[in-house]
Amino acid sequence: MLKRTLFIFLLLICSCSLAFAELSKGDLTIAGYLKDEFSLGLKTFNEVSKFKNILQLSGEYKFSDQSVFFTSAKYWYDSVYDLREKYDAARHYMGHIQRTDWLRDCYLDYTSGPWFLRLGKQQVAWGQADGITILDRVNPADLTEYWLPDAVDLRIPLWMANINYSPKLNSNLQLLIIPDFEQSTAAPPGAPFAFRSYKLFMDFKDFWEGPPIPFIKPNYGVLNTNIYYPAKQFKNSKFGVQWQDRIGDWDYTLNYLYGYDYLARTYSDGSGYRFGIPYPTITLNYSRRFKLVQMAGGSLNHTFTEEGLLKGVTLRGDAAVYLNEPTYYGNAATGRSEGVNRWNNVFWLIGLDKSVVTNWVASFQFAQYIMEHSKPGGGYQTLNSYTNGAQDAVENIFSLKISTDFLHERLKPEILWSCTDDNQGRISPKATYEINDNLWFTLGIHYFYGKEVDSNGQFRDVSQFYTQIKYTF
């Protein structure tokens, strides 16, 4: 198996390099990479949790100075789902790329005076935050590996019309019309980064559909789950508007997004009873539905360039209010959701960046996620949608990243520490080394800590050591 994989990749390297040499002429540019990602559990150091090989090819063709076509495609295969039986339950979904996810970009750019159009499959990033999606919600997110991949790989591209008009220098009005719909994805139970809430639900399904247990579950059970996607009609498109401008030395944006949330929420649709001897059968019906939500907010950034204490500091910030955001409530102790409230929640962030000494850069972020109500009522608690643990009414989030370089920038170490005020978080040191222009090696650790009911703490047993080797062409 490994020999065959190696052979295929060597073949790909050769053919792609030749294609690149031939095609990168004139108005056509082709580039791409092959990458191997390997990770090993930190707990025992004998638990391989990823052995993923990725091929990405990108191409750009310039029809004229006004029109450019760009596309990129990606394929990956994770052999760990062949090698480890414990991941069998997730293999169908995590072992290889799904459906049309291979097409990462496919759009046409057209520029004419103050107008700029980008039509096709693409991703759009709003906001200034790093690693925290406050305004960056135009595209759904692929969370099958939690928030660990680069943002470019986390966003799920959508077909859309991205229409821009610049009425004056340094300003831009952007209108997004997104008839396409994809839901945000999560890893299924069995995969290393399956969310606790997902696992709890599937555990309950197994329990309910299992045989009767005297005094505990005196019945046969059926648990139906239906998912209802928004109907494929233009009226169900997502719409977004961004106004971008500058006041003095301050850049700002105003943002508005309206459409179906990419994350489905689970609702109970009642139950059915069928008489039986010796045990009855009880059917529980659940549905997963997407709800219309609105987001309004803005961002700013500013570098202090004048003499003074703050000289050299870059300040950035995002703020958003999510109107009618579906918010789970239930019993945090059992991890059972009882329903969904629709609240107006607020998320804001401030970030500071500075080159501290010569080639050392520090980046600090503080964010707050504020629920509209501190208590959902009925003796229930608001639930964290990742874990079904208790969600604080105000969640304080911090992150600090320090990076530098050595050996004429061939070696680039950095460390990221992100945490909340619940004593849970993630520490991720890594170092990337440039072996040559086309070969890069990365070594790092993702160390999670906290309680099982916390967003990061739920992965404390899958902390990992990882390597990546990337060949570009």
Binding site: G32, F116, A125, Q128, D150, A151, T303, T305, N359, H408
Partner: protein, 294 residues
């Protein structure tokens, strides 16, 4: 990220900060006999930052060669528009895009430089790994430029006001032979030799000796010395004269930096230069940067 910050201001070899010189934009200045060291250096900075032109674009390659001979390469495409605009204080705007190798392809920086020499540059980056723009601070002046042998200030941020100057002598430059380019530069070119001393205490160099071409007022060669008076760095700046509408524009086309302590060498070669082609300022905005594809 840091590397990113560096390249920002820029790979644009020849480009950086406007000195305090009160020289008028879009004119051509040359040194004259009898000028003071300050006057000569004002012309030198004016030319270094190409303030004689309205705009320009060029492609370029940078090579980083270590003692063993191992070589890394970066290629870029750059644009600049000179404004010298007093209403908002903007001197010029630069856009630099990495075109290779693939690992850094698409990385792009937008840098605005102000007339006020005490004001730092504004820098925006397009980061392909995020597919978004990040505003960042100007790099530290003593940091290495892209990991090479030039410092950030050698390329982009050193200002006329950062040093004091005196004329040491006038001589014909003995010539500089580049092993990389297999060529000898500036042999017997008449020069002013100027000693530049940094105003900052405990800076990474104690003085520079700079050879200024008497004909065009450009810095063709320099040597850096440490606090013990030991030479630790040599920098060659090779120019070509472009004739545009009857005016002679001296453009930096080739730079070679040698670290005499480590043996590391940096080569920067500019290609396909276009001058005064009527670039629009709309190409130097955050919105334009966000249209990057790679």
């Amino acid at each position: 990220m840091k590397r990113v910050v560096l390249l920002l201001a820029g790979i644009m070899l020849t480009w950086s900060y406007l000195s305090a010189a009160e020289l008028e934009y879009f004119q051509v200045y040359k040194p004259k006999e009898g000028m003071s060291a300050d006057e000569i250096m004002q012309i030198k900075y004016f030319n270094k930052y190409t303030l004689f032109a309205h705009d320009m674009s060029m492609t370029g390659r940078a090579y980083f060669i270590d003692k063993s001979g191992a070589t890394r390469e970066r290629s870029t495409a750059r644009k600049r528009i000179n404004l010298g605009r007093k209403s908002d204080g903007i001197a010029y705007k630069d856009l630099t895009i990495f075109t290779g190798p693939t690992q850094v392809k698409g990385l792009c920086s937008l840098v605005w430089t102000y007339l006020n020499a005490k004001k730092e540059q504004e820098v925006w980056l397009w980061l392909p790994s995020l597919k978004k723009i990040r505003k960042v601070s100007q790099s530290a002046s003593d940091d290495s430029f892209l990991g090479g042998d030039f410092s950030v200030e050698d390329i982009t941020t050193r200002r006329f006001e950062d040093e004091t100057y005196k004329i040491v002598k006038e001589e014909n430059f003995p010539g500089y032979t580049s092993d990389f380019m297999k060529k000898t530069y500036y042999k017997d070119t008449p020069c002013f030799v100027i000693e530049a001393t940094p105003k900052r205490a405990n800076w990474y160099y104690a003085k520079r000796l700079i050879w200024i071409d008497k004909n065009y007022g450009v810095n063709i060669y320099e040597e850096k010395y440490d606090a013990n008076g030991k030479k630790f760095m040599t920098l060659l700046r090779g120019h070509e004269i472009y004739n545009v509408d009857g005016k002679e524009y001296p453009m930096q086309m080739y730079l070679e930096g040698k670290d005499l302590r480590s043996g590391h060498i940096t080569e920067i070669i500019n290609e396909t230069v276009k001058i005064d082609q009527g670039l629009s300022e709309d190409e130097f905005t955050e919105a334009a940067l966000s249209r990057s594809r790679w």
